[in-house]
């Protein structure tokens, strides 16, 4: 984050302004990615006019960065109408898409409307791997063609690569592809449970040994020693820090108008069909609860070596059952990075040890040694 953006974010936090919102326009999708956390049926998406009214409310509430995502955003026939409205309201608009439906015309329109950047999901440089993840034959070629259209319009494109068991070997190939296109590339090893709580997708996540290898790739992390270093002991000040921006300067709105602290934090806080966006943001009891949590309030994690350097996601912790608890996936990342088990992992080991503890039976009354 640039210095000025960090400064404005701090100011937004002090003023309780939701600077950054992700709005999913639809959960429908033209791909069926094996790791996806969404139910792709339409359960009553917001209409064009409902979304426009929401955008007006968001602009009035001070939202600056608006990420339009899905599902696949280009499946909405009113997508450009919504985008044009968002740009009239002068949001900094970022798009997340698989880009399969983007042709020259769409790329030109995106540029004309002054979109900030477009994130395109690419899982491998090899069609047989990418298409096996999206379950759509030919999808890699179509997405790559779209990136060329977007680049030819001078747009800023980022390739987003999710690291899974099925594709982890291919991340250097995806990075090479990004270099060839002259676009940025992000790599995320987080696979999330489905929004309904189903955790079957987690089996696709890479194991600690693989993560350990990835975290020691200097082309990815730069200074490996620094990246993998154990953090210094937490000070009282550092424990006053916020766990993340969810609910503080950022939130998420679903296609049905439900507001959550983050796309990865499915704690319902209100619905914009019933209440004004700003009222949910300011007054929802759930938002206030999320907002009240500091690092010092976390159970287990405050005792952990990694407490100040961990990537702990409060949403993943919530999905594990406690928004103040640990997020096991992030414990795995800290272990892979530093080689040191988290407090959560150690406490689970202790519980496991207790379960197999052998107790000496008391001698029966009257027995003699």
């Amino acid at each position: 984050m640039s210095g000025l953006l960090a400064e404005m974010t701090a100011k937004a936090h002090a003023l309780n302004v939701p600077l950054n919102v992700q709005l999913d326009l639809t959960y429908r999708c033209n791909e069926r990615c094996v790791h996806c956390y969404l139910d792709h049926d339409d359960h009553g998406e917001m209409t064009t006019s409902e979304i426009k009214r929401l955008l007006d409310e968001m602009a009035d509430a001070g939202v600056f960065i608006l990420t339009l995502s899905g599902g696949e955003i280009f499946l909405r026939k009113d997508f450009f109408d919504i985008l044009a409205h968002a740009r009239r309201l002068m949001f900094c608009v970022k798009l997340k898409t698989n880009a399969v439906l983007i042709r020259e015309h769409q790329a030109r329109r995106i540029r004309e409307l002054g979109v900030h950047s477009i994130q395109v999901s690419i899982y491998s440089h090899r069609p047989e791997v990418h298409d096996a993840i999206t379950l759509v034959p030919g999808s890699l070629q179509r997405s790559l063609k779209a990136i060329r259209f977007l680049k030819s319009q001078g747009l800023k494109v980022t390739i987003a690569n999710v690291l899974m068991t099925e594709n982890w070997n291919d991340y250097p190939g995806v990075r090479a592809l990004a270099d060839e296109f002259g676009v940025e590339c992000t790599l995320d090893p987080t696979v999330t449970p489905m929004m309904d709580g189903n955790r079957s997708t987690l089996r696709l996540g890479v194991d600690t040994a693989t993560l350990r290898e990835v975290f020691r790739d200097k082309t990815l992390v730069g200074d490996v020693e620094e990246f993998c270093a154990v953090s210094e002991e937490a000070s009282e000040d550092s424990l006053e820090a916020l766990p993340c921006s969810a609910g503080h300067t950022a939130c998420y709105v679903s296609p049905y108008g439900d507001v959550y602290p983050c796309v990865q934090f499915p704690l319902p806080t209100g619905n914009v069909r019933q209440q004004r966006f700003v009222d949910i943001w300011r007054d929802s009891a759930q938002m206030k609860e999320v907002r009240s949590i500091r690092l010092k309030d976390l159970t287990t994690c405050t005792q952990c070596t990694h407490v100040t350097s961990c990537t702990r996601c409060p949403g993943l912790a919530y999905m594990e059952g406690n928004m103040r608890g640990p997020s096991s996936q992030d414990c795995e990342k800290s272990l892979a990075r530093t080689g040191i088990a988290s407090a959560n992992m150690l406490s689970k080991k202790r519980v496991a040890a207790n379960l197999i503890q052998i107790r000496t039976l008391a001698a029966p009354t009257g027995a003699t040694a």
């Binding site: 100011k11 009035d60 001070g62 939202v63 309201l89 002068m90 004309e112 900030h116 800023k156």
Partner: protein
């Protein structure tokens, strides 16, 4: 004396935060913040109102400043903002279909 017209660039993103305007350039994603005076100028830059009129009606009324001094500062500021691509300048009224509504 030739009139100078100013219009907000349609390629930028902008939002007011506690009276201070945050603007992100569409050219290179650079973030700017404008102070109160610059924010007034930028918000009034509709492409149709000449700069001297904006200065007289918006800036001189808000701040106790001599019109000539305010005009000189405003022109310098407008040229500076134009050099970053966040404002358009012309001697003719500017018709910009994409100019947004700053909030």
């Amino acid at each position: 004396m030739t009139k100078l017209y100013v219009a907000r660039s349609p390629r930028v993103a902008a939002r007011s935060l506690d009276g201070e305007m945050m603007i992100m350039s569409g050219q290179d994603s650079t973030l700017f913040t404008l102070n109160k005076t610059a924010t007034i100028l930028w918000q009034a830059a509709d492409g149709a109102t000449p700069l001297d009129q904006i200065v007289e009606q918006k800036i001189c009324r808000e701040f106790e400043v001599e019109p000539a001094v305010a005009m000189k500062d405003a022109e310098s500021l407008a040229r500076q903002l134009a050099s970053h691509g966040i404002l358009q300048l012309d001697e003719q009224p500017i018709v910009s279909l994409g100019t947004g509504e700053p909030r």
